[in-house]
Symmetry: C2
Subunit: 162 residues, 2 copies
Amino acid sequence: MPKLDLTRIERRTGSTYPGKLRATMDGRSSLRLGDAGGLTQFGVNMVRLEPGGMSSLRHYHLEQDEFAMAIEGTLVLVDDDCEHEMRPGDCATFPAGDPNGHHLINRTDAPAAFLVVGTRTPTETAYYSDIDMMVKTDTDGSRFTCKDGSPLTADQIGDDNE
Amino acid sequence: MPKLDLTRIERRTGSTYPGKLRATMDGRSSLRLGDAGGLTQFGVNMVRLEPGGMSSLRHYHLEQDEFAMAIEGTLVLVDDDCEHEMRPGDCATFPAGDPNGHHLINRTDAPAAFLVVGTRTPTETAYYSDIDMMVKTDTDGSRFTCKDGSPLTADQIGDDNE
């Protein structure tokens, strides 16, 4: 049946970020709507941010288009230029390769939510705008490094087993 | 700026359907959000259906994933199996190649709206479930024919210049 029963989709938490950076995503959870409905060409996630939560560290993608629509509450979209308030129905686009790092944050006292769509590609590279980190993804998984390819340091991520 | 100003995006009407089939889309208009924001890998449209309007003739895609979320009003999703009421926040997925013809219709007295996302591919074939029609799309454009590839008849589409 094409209509999704959102109450039956697992709410996922956690992060693939290394070491102590993982905790920056503690206020985020999401429903993987596209995966639940059998889509493979793009991901569609309904992301919930608790007060103080953020969608990701500020970043941009080299290969993947991204689209977001605010659904609930009030969010702030932060990019290289400024901040934009995002209320339900407000939309934003992030074309692949545009080096304008972005993320959404919830500065209110109530939960907020947004829908996000991103292309699935065999490989991907993303750069983090506010820290010296990049991630390369391929069929072997994701590897986080400094932007020159060198390993992340303990200063950056602490004990990676934490 | 990644945030879109929806008031500055042209509302598009009309249809690429041939001949008299074109009028079936009279109650539909849309904002091409993805195009307006520079996305190329998938389309994102905010579609408005007036009372009695429909999203498309009932169809399925061979190559392109599709996702829809109801945004305003009450819609009915019709597929091969049954009908599903779609209220704001309800979502549906249509994986490429799944031969379950679908469309959204507005049977209420008020406008309704939904967000739809579809992959962009160099070629595409779609089949229409309730009539003997298919469409093949490539870099030369879209060609509507009967499902066996023969030309559509005057009975099906009337005078194609109408």
